[in-house]
Symmetry: C2
Subunit: 366 residues, 2 copies
């Protein structure tokens, strides 16, 4: 993997990452395709939306359909017919959020599958093996994630275990044509986060992710972690803020030197009938859109906005029609892609601060 | 509306219908878009599949979102962004199949909405008004449909009422730029069906549909009604067999001079995980497709078959992913479109009998 830093504007960075399946421009937003599909859209639609890289999940895919099966099909790219880069999350966060009766030891995480209750044991080595078999372009180290609030002792223990696991992931790696990213932990405790980030920064990872955030803490606390991390992380490696977030959060994080993002918000909110627009978020089932002939967002170039009115979208949601989910997902993802395109252009033009101020001024809560 | 008969092969007919929104070739299969959307596909996908005309439903759309609202948006074509022909069913069949506590008098049908229980009254005049407001290219007369088996007296009563209603529909019509089709009734009673068909054939309808079939009778009984009707219906008008059906049924009906078809089978079965193929129908959730790298159907040119394996489709269905519904629907509709393309070419080449025999030989139950 090659990361080229093309432009810098304050701490905001514009770059390009080259992978075994082509390149993507940063800052980048990665649509979430947990189960080897970005929910409710086809890969043709994803390409038209402008998605350069998508995220899939090692935990989900190992449980169903199994990484062996996907490997038989030549890996995730061929299985799901997506020829652009894929990043897989390691499963650490899912052990924390989804698995039942998880028991974590220094060796690994034992838990019951959320699908069928079967017993599963994932170690750092196993997680790397799964992700290499999936054939992801970027694989994530297996980490231990804790919630918020979290006792400092517990946070320290999970952080040190994650450090040890990160080293084991590096050793377990067999494919040099794929990248391996570390995940920093330590919650919002500055000294723990600093220790973790400094230790990981000394190891030969291809990129660094900030984990254990967006689990209930205040956004201001997250921002402090970002500022701290930015000062430690190597300038020549991409930085990935996991699970973030709202457009305004992404703007804050780009301003603090973050390069990569993923979040279920655009796709999940779409399926719940909520559209992102420059004028704020709108709930399309609302009666006030019943006779609204405008597109979801004036000026948007997505398939939904070019062809359909809010009234039609509302009808589809009220009538429980699948097309509503598909159209809304396309719009929300395109909204995020347009945001990232604007961010990248602004950084290259040296006017990120103006772009951010303009985006946030006079708009609703996005 | 103009109907041009281009070829005849035995009783099978090849033709072209011109409407206010362009033409379509017959025999034609119309994908069902009850609520102003063909379930799980976009209009771009529908066009790629080769759909020339789709069906929508006056009963459903009058209840939700209301024909007045759709008229405000310039009609159904603009509301749903479909610029090709649309046929709307009148609601007669839905009063029979969906409405609660329907009470039918000579004046019309009073019933409770299946959506919210509100009281609705539909007359022939009201049905024509709804369909004209929707702006359908082909509107259907409002009829009384009976089930099977049905006492002859009851069938005769419904048939005579449908005749009287057909005359009222003709009188109620105000838009001469749209077509009006009659619907014959009479169940499987030859004398009733004959009386109804002869009476309607004398009235100035633009086309004729066979109604009250596929409600539980044997296919052989339907075929007798087709043969009887074919001998009476005017040669220069299109003939529409409503709600049919399986590919083999369509072949039988084309052989007996039928020109137009609609059915929920390709779309509904798709969403239930069943694919139509030349080798029979397959249930994609079946364990035997778990490692099956073949497309749903070898040689199919649909988006699903060009890009994805049965194993991937199975994974999507097992994991409850919306993309599975979208891909399967595209395949099944494309299967039907390819069938109709084959039928039309065979009729024009004077080899329909061979085409039918070849299609049915050595294949599974389609």
């Amino acid at each position: 993997m090659k990361f080229e830093l093309i432009a810098q504007d304050g701490k905001a960075r514009g770059g390009r990452v080259e992978t075994a399946h082509g390149s993507f421009d940063t800052p980048v937003f990665m649509p979430v395709g947990t189960q080897a599909t970005v929910k409710a859209v086809t890969h043709e639609q994803l390409k038209k939306i402008g998605a350069q890289i998508i995220l899939a999940n090692a935990y989900h895919l190992a449980l169903r359909p199994g990484e062996e099966l996907i490997a038989e099909f030549g890996g995730l790219h061929r299985f799901m017919s997506w020829d652009r880069p894929i990043l897989t999350d390691s499963g650490g966060y899912q052990v924390f959020s989804l698995a039942q009766t998880a028991k974590i030891t220094d060796e690994g995480a034992a838990f019951q599958s959320h699908i069928d209750g079967s017993r599963v044991f994932i170690t750092p080595e196993r997680s790397v093996e799964i992700q290499e078999k999936l054939g992801a372009d970027i694989i994530m180290a297996f980490d231990e994630c804790v919630g918020f609030p979290c006792e400092k002792d517990r946070a320290a223990g999970a952080m040190r275990r994650s450090l040890a696991w990160a080293e084991r992931c590096l050793k377990a790696r067999t494919r040099k044509d794929r990248s391996l990213f570390a995940i920093t932990q330590g919650g919002i405790h500055a000294d723990l986060r600093k220790e973790c980030t400094e230790s990981l920064a000394r190891m030969p990872f291809d990129g660094y992710a900030l984990g254990g955030l967006s689990v209930g803490e205040e956004w201001e606390q997250t921002l402090e972690v970002l500022a701290l991390s930015e000062g430690i992380l190597p300038r020549e490696k991409p930085r990935y803020l996991m699970g973030v977030g709202l457009p305004r959060d992404i703007l804050d994080a780009v301003e603090r030197g973050m390069d990569m993002f993923d979040c279920v918000l655009p796709t999940r909110n779409a399926r719940n009938g909520e559209a992102f627009t420059r004028d704020g978020r709108i709930k399309i089932r609302n009666e006030k859109y019943r006779r609204d002939g405008a597109p979801l967002e004036e000026g948007c170039d997505c398939y939904a906005c070019r062809n359909f009115s809010r009234a039609y979208l509302r009808h589809l949601f009220v009538a429980d029609e699948i097309l509503g989910l598909t159209l809304m997902t396309q719009h929300n993802l395109r909204f995020y892609m347009r945001l990232m395109e604007g961010i990248r252009a602004a950084i290259r033009a040296g006017r990120f601060a103006e772009f951010k101020a303009s985006f946030l001024s006079g708009v609703g809560p996005v």
